[in-house]
């Protein structure tokens, strides 16, 4: 198995790329590109499942690690590995790939080859972000993930894709310029791009404090735009409105949030701690602002965008609360949000495919005509709201309770208001889409309920939400380990390779288990 363990991450990384090349070379006949893409995505997902199956709990540090020199000078290494933090994110990326392919099955009618090859390149880039442990390698995948996204938004935008694509690209590309400068500065100081090496060097305080503040800020800025954190969310609504469903569901959240955990808090704990009060405040503002704006949207894509802003801000709150529980909850909530958002995007995409309208006012009373859609949409909405028994509840509870005990009661109460508003806008959306009087516009259109293809993607997601809600203990142990490595349980002295560093509020690990 060791050979497999050594090469599994490389396989997961390269298989979608190989699929992309295959799609590009294969003839554009009937649904051939779709099938190749689906087969690739499923195979990749299968490979990602190898990771949790062979992940050794209790063994600290990175697993499935590969570290080979790639370029001599500057010393860039092909260094990949996963720990508890990234483990499930890789699996989530794997899971969303076939779902994205199936969701695009009929929606993408023209230039399928371009779509599916770029879609698969995007997969490679995202997996690369999660597994890279060399800063240059990481930066490479981070930037690479923008290109297919921007091109596909432009190609398949619903109204003005080009504008949305440029907005998305510039919003995320420009802040990564300071990020690159920061990485290069670190390299000029240390001669290394290696995550672990840099973390040790920084932990020993070998750097002048003034520049480090700027370096950490450059990292934070690039990630905050990608999440997005209020007030850097300008690109989100347009991107959600224009992007094809398969891409919209992966564009926000996980890449930025993971990067914050790994590279902002992980590399610059002291600076991150100094920035935390501001981020907590911005996060709470984001929660409430996003929720309020979601309430007044007339277009369901935009509603979903502001809902996402609200939920992602909650996760940011969990991350920068600097409690073990809150961080573990935040990681868990990234997963939940990924699953729930995917389901809602597929459902709204299905509505859009049928009625070609995204104004909420164009719908009404669909529950009787599309019972399956209505059922699944209600499940998705409830999961989004954070109903007990469904995944988001666990994550939100962990974040809010740790904020309450470990950060500040005031912020926790304010953030909880956002959750209440969340229930309001989601339930109101359900009501306006599926209940009430039938709208003339949609009543006249022929209505076909979800077909087997769509159901095959949605039911697994629904089941997954339930499983994540009732059995968090299946998922949480590796996450906790990523957040708080096992060595800490024995020793009071903080080893260097810790994610979170000194003066952690005392919230017991038992709290997570409940």
């Amino acid at each position: 198995m060791t050979a497999m363990n050594d090469s599994i991450l490389t396989l997961i990384l390269l298989l979608p790329l190989a699929g992309a090349v295959l799609v590009a070379l294969a003839p554009d006949r009937a649904k051939l590109p779709n099938w190749i893409a689906l087969a690739t995505a499923l195979a990749t997902f299968g490979l990602t499942l190898h990771l949790p199956a062979h992940f050794i709990l209790g063994q600290g540090g990175f697993q499935f690690e590969v570290n080979r020199p790639w370029i001599e000078n500057p010393a860039i290494f092909y260094h990949v590995g996963v720990d508890g933090l990234s483990l499930w994110l890789v699996v989530l990326t794997g899971l969303l790939a076939p779902i994205g392919v199936i969701a695009s099955w009929n929606a993408i009618q023209s230039r399928r080859k371009v779509f599916y090859s770029l879609f698969l390149v995007q997969q490679t880039a995202m997996v690369g972000v999660f597994i890279s442990l060399d800063l240059m390698l990481y930066y490479g995948f981070w930037e690479l993930s923008l290109v297919p996204m921007a091109i596909l938004i432009a190609m398949y935008g619903r109204k003005d894709g080009r504008k949305a694509a440029i907005k998305f690209f510039l919003f995320t590309f420009i802040p990564s310029a300071p990020l690159l400068v920061a990485i290069l500065w670190l390299y000029a100081q240390t001669g290394s791009f290696d995550f672990a090496t840099l973390r040790i060097l920084i932990a020993h305080g070998n750097f002048p404090a003034g520049p480090m503040l700027w370096i950490a800020f450059a990292f934070l800025l690039a990630f905050a735009v990608k999440v997005p954190v209020f007030p850097l969310h300008g690109w989100l609504a347009d991107t959600f409105t224009e992007a094809p469903v398969a891409l919209a569901m992966v564009v926000a959240g996980k890449l930025g949030l993971y990067s914050m955990l790994r590279f902002h808090i992980g590399l610059f704990p002291a600076q991150a701690r100094a920035a935390a009060p501001y981020l907590i405040a911005l996060a709470v503002v984001g929660i409430l602002y996003g929720a309020c704006l979601a309430l007044v949207q007339r277009d369901f894509w935009r509603l979903l965008a502001f809902a996402a802003l609200s939920h992602l801000s909650l996760i940011t709150l969990g991350i920068y609360g600097f409690t073990f529980t809150g961080t573990a909850g935040a990681v868990y909530q990234i997963l939940n949000h990924g699953v729930v958002d995917a389901a809602l995007f597929v459902l709204l995409g299905a509505l859009y495919d049928r009625y070609a309208a995204s104004e909420i006012a164009a719908y009404g009373g669909l529950a009787s005509k599309l019972p399956q859609t209505a059922t699944l949409f209600v499940i998705g909405s409830l999961a989004m709201i954070g109903l007990p028994m469904l995944g988001s509840f666990v994550g939100e509870f962990l974040i809010l309770s740790s904020t309450f005990t470990g950060v500040s009661k005031g912020w926790a109460i304010a953030a909880s208001m956002g959750v209440i508003l969340g229930a309001a806008y989601m339930l109101w959306l359900v009501q306006r889409l599926f209940y009430g009087p039938e709208n003339a516009q949609t009543a006249s259109a022929p209505a076909a309920d979800l077909d087997g293809r769509e159901l095959a993607t949605l039911w697994p997601l629904a089941v997954l939400m339930l499983v994540m809600g009732v059995a968090p203990s299946l998922w949480l142990p590796p996450i906790e380990q990523g957040v708080r490595p096992p060595q800490l349980k024995q020793s009071a002295v903080l080893p260097e390779n810790l994610l979170l560093l000194p003066s952690m509020p005392n919230s017991s690990p038992g709290e997570v288990q409940r």
């Binding site: 930066y139 690479l144 791009f193």
Partner: protein
């Protein structure tokens, strides 16, 4: 040094000269009615031989020939290979895109090859008069090539503009050479380097260096000496622009490296801030102006000004790391720029019926492969990882940061963010579905011949290699840097300072 016959020191130039003469004489002896296309293949073949001859020169020991006027070293070979590669691509491109009935086709190929002679000689010359002669050889052929489309008004306009401003610039350079000769009594670069330290007429040397920099910076179209660029690029035929925007610039950058790092390392304190300012000006002016362009060739002209700025950022680097970064950037820039002009040539056609960004709308639907290649080169120009453009910027800015010019790197990277706007505008136009209403865009897909396909593959391959496995080219660039006799201020590059493995 004596063991190598002098003739081997200029072997690539010799091969190119013979090719040029052959093409030109054949052209004038053939009956006028005969097609001249074969001459293009002859020129391409000759350039290939020159390419191979440059590679062969690796087996020669480093040294000078012809009484210390020309040199072969890793540095000259690096640029020889690069220039021959560019010229080869430009020739292949012209072969398929020049109209069959265009006048003086034979001369066209011959001029390209003669231009290459000048450029190659320029990179190898270590004597300022030879430098001047080489510069003139390359300039005169490019002046003529720029005005090749005589039938349009813009062609002669471009040629005259280029000629007048270019002559001014070379005059500046020559005046600088004269002043330096006056101060040191020699035109041999090594001798000047040795004497400049102790020369009494220090102000002569300073003035001479400044005047030479004006001449060279004009050739690389760095701001504020860039005004000719957009007009010339717009007026000249696209295959010529592919050549013009890369090969003479590569040669001029080689000369710049030689002048500042080999001839006047002692004046580092003078030229370094000057080049800092020029770098910032070039990238900012280039990018801001490019933002507003609707004409693709003008946009790319301003983009090339900005790229000259990114490249000049490498000069803030310390000794060999800066030189190596500049060499690498030149290669990466050449690969992607020659490639994108190849695509532009194919899309717009020789007569440029489709010059605007809007005309590229829906290209990926009309011609999927060509559209994808265009987007690929634009992605590389933006500087996305895994393409040559990324590592070019990467090495250039890390050299700048290594040399302490953090602000230069920040300005440069913010500029590349700005630049993404206009590159993206073109890329997304190509990706977007064309509106069928416009009759103009309903043109058929461009014809892609064998030669041009080979040229495109060469450029795509080079851009990918530079982006994914840059190790070999970087080693060559470093060897080039070392052979250029880096200044004594050379400290060990930070890369060797610590072994990341040992710390784990």
């Amino acid at each position: 040094m004596n063991s190598v016959p002098d003739i081997f020191r200029i072997l690539p130039e010799l091969v190119l000269t013979l090719t040029g003469v052959l093409v030109m004489l054949t052209d004038s002896t053939l009956p006028p009615a005969w097609p001249r296309r074969t001459l293009g293949w002859v020129a391409a073949l000759g350039t290939t031989f020159a390419f191979l001859a440059s590679l062969w020169q690796f087996s020669l020991p480093q040294g000078t020939g012809f009484y210390g006027t020309v040199e072969t070293s890793a540095f000259t070979i690096f640029f020889h290979v690069l220039i021959c590669g560019i010229v080869l691509v430009a020739l292949l491109l012209s072969l398929d895109t020049l109209p069959e009935d265009s006048h003086h086709q034979g001369e066209f190929y011959a001029l390209i090859v003669f231009g290459a002679v000048g450029m190659c000689l320029l990179t190898g010359a270590v004597e300022l008069l030879v430098v001047f002669i080489a510069l003139e050889i390359s300039s005169i052929s490019t002046y003529i090539l720029a005005g090749y489309r005589k039938e349009t008004g813009r062609g002669p306009e471009a040629a005259i503009k280029y000629f007048l401003l270019g002559s001014f610039a070379t005059a500046f350079l020559l005046y600088g050479v004269a002043l330096i000769f006056g101060a040191t009594g020699t035109t041999q670069i090594y001798e000047i380097a040795r004497l400049a330290v102790s020369a009494q007429n220090h102000s002569f040397i300073l003035a001479g260096l400044a005047l030479m920099l004006v001449g060279i910076l004009f050739k690389v179209s760095a701001a504020p000496f860039h005004v000719w660029t957009p007009d010339v690029y717009e007026g000249a035929p696209s295959p010529v622009v592919a050549l013009l925007s890369t090969a003479p610039k590569a040669a001029a950058f080689a000369l710049l490296l030689r002048v500042v790092y080999e001839m006047f390392p002692s004046l580092h304190g003078l030229w370094s801030p000057l080049l800092w300012i020029v770098a910032v000006l070039s990238m900012t002016v280039g990018n801001l102006a490019a933002l507003r362009q609707q004409n693709v060739k003008r946009m790319l002209a301003y983009s090339s000004i900005a790229h000259a700025g990114y490249l000049l950022a490498a000069f803030a680097g310390l000794g060999s790391s800066g030189i190596a970064a500049a060499c690498f950037y030149t290669a990466a820039y050449a690969a992607m720029n020659v490639g994108i002009f190849a695509v532009v040539t194919l899309v717009s056609g020789y007569n440029e019926k489709l010059p605007l960004v809007e005309d590229y709308r829906g290209l990926i639907y009309r011609a999927p492969v060509l559209g994808s290649v265009l987007i690929f080169f634009l992605v590389s120009l933006i500087g996305i990882p895994f393409t040559g453009g990324f590592f070019g910027k990467f090495y250039s800015f890390s050299a700048a940061i290594g040399g302490g010019a953090v602000w230069l790197a920040i300005i440069g990277l913010l500029n590349s963010g700005l630049a993404a706007t206009y590159y993206l505008r073109l890329a997304l136009a190509a990706a977007q579905r064309a509106e069928d209403k416009k009759a103009k865009t309903a043109v058929s897909a461009p014809q892609v011949g064998v030669a041009v396909a080979a040229a495109l593959m060469f450029a795509v391959g080079a851009t990918l290699v530079l982006g994914i496995v840059p190790g070999e080219v970087l080693r060559a660039a470093e060897a080039a840097a070392h052979s250029l006799q880096a200044p004594p201020a050379q400290t060990g590059s930070p890369a060797n300072a610590k072994d990341p493995q040992s710390l784990r």
